[in-house]
């Protein structure tokens, strides 16, 4: 339990250094985001931040994309985006494949499609990269230890 105490103290120190109070995640260079912070998967990052290139890295954490966004804001500061008119009842989902729509739906279930307890609690501890299914991840041969 001593290790746990050290861990807890370390966490408290991290909070003390970084400031416990919330700041808006997307706040950067004076540009504040109106995105609501939600973290259902527990990785500490806002799930609502887009990931345009689908590389599992939020766009705000990628320097080259932030640069592009800022340049874009300067270039189009005197223009406005307006919703496209005349779409009527057109369903944008009809342009997507079944797997793409399912991917969107699956994203909504990231908190409810797994659980942390039961008789194999802790067996999912690890990087979550999907390659650690052998002995060291705590599970092998379909049995966790």
């Amino acid at each position: 339990m001593r290790i746990a105490s050290v861990l807890f103290t370390s966490i408290c120190m991290i909070f003390a250094i970084s400031g416990f109070g919330g700041y808006v995640l997307l706040a950067d260079d004076g540009i504040e985001s109106k995105e609501v912070f939600v973290d259902l998967d527990g990785d500490g990052f806002n799930d609502n931040i887009p990931d345009e290139d689908n590389n599992s890295i939020p766009d705000t954490a990628e320097d080259d994309k932030n640069l592009d966004e800022n340049e874009g804001l300067l270039a189009s500061s005197d223009s406005q985006f307006k919703p496209i008119e005349g779409l009527g009842g057109f369903n944008l989902n009809s342009l997507l494949s079944n797997s793409e729509i399912f991917g969107k739906l699956k994203f909504l279930t990231r908190a409810q499609s797994c659980c942390r307890g039961g008789f194999e609690a802790g067996s999912d501890f690890g990087p979550g990269n999907g390659i650690g299914l052998g002995a060291v991840s705590g599970c092998a041969g379909g049995v966790c230890h």
Binding site: N55, I101, G117, G122, N129, G141, G142
Partner: protein, 361 residues
């Protein structure tokens, strides 16, 4: 229950709509560990694993997987095994709805070489859950879980587990997230009556075991800057009306059907970093205090076991999506495990390294 799961799987194999599409995911991994059995014998081994999943989407709300995995161990060759299975996931609600309904059913068969064939298993699992968005920053969820593990050549290790879960996720003070999950689990299994073990002559009388477990697990997560995220999770897990059942033990704790059944406390810390461009770095530490079930070591020794288990890991992944063409993700992972136990057989430490490649098409 098993028939129901199989029926649902077959039902969704049949229809093929015009917009149905397929996906394929293949994972290769190569690993080395200095303690393959996870006990004081400290046998080192290297092993490789290949995993393939064929995904089929007959409807936008349904995913059907056919999966297979083969693991090869270079020293302990008999531990090599082949897994094959199928999985169905259905999400019948729309993306705009505040209510999300989730169903999952799966079947998995795992077969070992002759020397370890006692561990051959058929596993059936199911889950149904529903979540509801209360406010933009608060969501509640609840659900049921089911698992039936059947050991083909060792029926006394079979177990059937039912669970109910509930949870709440909310955001407070800007970008701090709290997720509280709780659950209650029931397990049916076969235990051995203690009086018969100690009697002379010994009579091993198998009785229906009944194990109940309650857990509560708060998790706090937040970002520490633009490129670093963390969570800290505490889990309290306790057997309910615990009558200290005795179960059959197996020579290798590594594969024991009871190795994963415990009560106690755990605390874990996970970090995720995007500081290296285009790469994902993960690291973590976890500590578990576990009380395991009592096991029978022949001829008549009844062994209680309590472990202090700690684990550290570091992972590095490089996702490489392509606008058209395959998705590639090479990964490397380092693990260190330390375990101290009241049973000296399980005093051990382990160091492991895994390299892997994920390919999606």
């Amino acid at each position: 229950m098993r028939s129901l799961l199989i029926g649902i799987l077959i039902l969704f194999f049949l229809p093929v709509s015009a917009s149905a599409d397929f996906g394929l995911e293949i994972k290769f991994s190569e690993s080395f560990t200095n303690n393959i059995i996870s006990d004081s014998s400290e046998l080192s081994d290297s092993y490789s694993s290949t995993n393939a999943v064929l995904k089929y989407y007959p409807f936008p709300q349904v995913e059907l997987n056919l999966k297979s995995e083969y693991s090869y161990y270079s020293e302990l060759v008999a531990l090599g095994n082949l897994m094959s299975g199928a999985e169905l996931t259905a999400i019948p609600t729309s993306a705009e709805s505040p209510v999300v309904v989730y169903f999952n059913a799966s079947y998995e068969n795992r077969s070992y070489r002759e020397a370890f064939s006692v561990y051959n298993t058929d596993t059936y699992e199911g889950m149904a859950s529903v979540s509801y968005i209360l406010t933009p920053t608060a969501q509640v969820r609840g659900g049921f879980t089911y698992e039936n593990a059947l050991f083909k050549n060792s029926e006394e290790a079979d177990k059937e587990v039912y669970g109910v879960i509930g949870g709440l996720n909310l955001t407070f003070l800007g970008s701090n997230s709290l997720d509280i999950e709780t659950g209650y689990t029931f397990a049916d299994f076969i235990s051995i009556e203690e009086e018969g073990i100690l009697a002379y002559p010994q009579v091993l009388e198998e009785i229906d075991g009944d194990l109940k477990s309650f857990y509560i697990s708060p998790r706090f997560s937040r970002a520490l800057g633009r490129k670093l995220g963390m969570n800290i999770t505490y889990t309290f897990l306790s057997f309910v009306d615990y009558e200290e059942p005795i179960v059959y033990s197996y020579a290798t704790g590594f594969l024991s059907p009871w190795g994963s059944v415990w009560d106690g406390n755990s605390v874990t810390l996970n970090l995720k970093s995007y500081h290296i461009p285009k790469m994902i770095i993960t690291g973590g530490f976890g500590y578990w205090n576990k009380r395991m079930l009592r096991t029978l070591e022949f001829p008549d020794r009844i062994i209680p076991r309590e472990d202090d288990y700690s684990r550290y890991y570091l992972g590095l992944s490089w996702p490489m999506p392509a606008r058209s063409g395959p998705y590639l993700e090479p990964s490397i992972q380092l693990d260190i495990i330390n375990n101290t136990s009241t049973n000296r057989l399980y005093d051990y430490s382990t160091f492991s390294v895994i390299v892997g490649l994920t390919l999606r098409m």
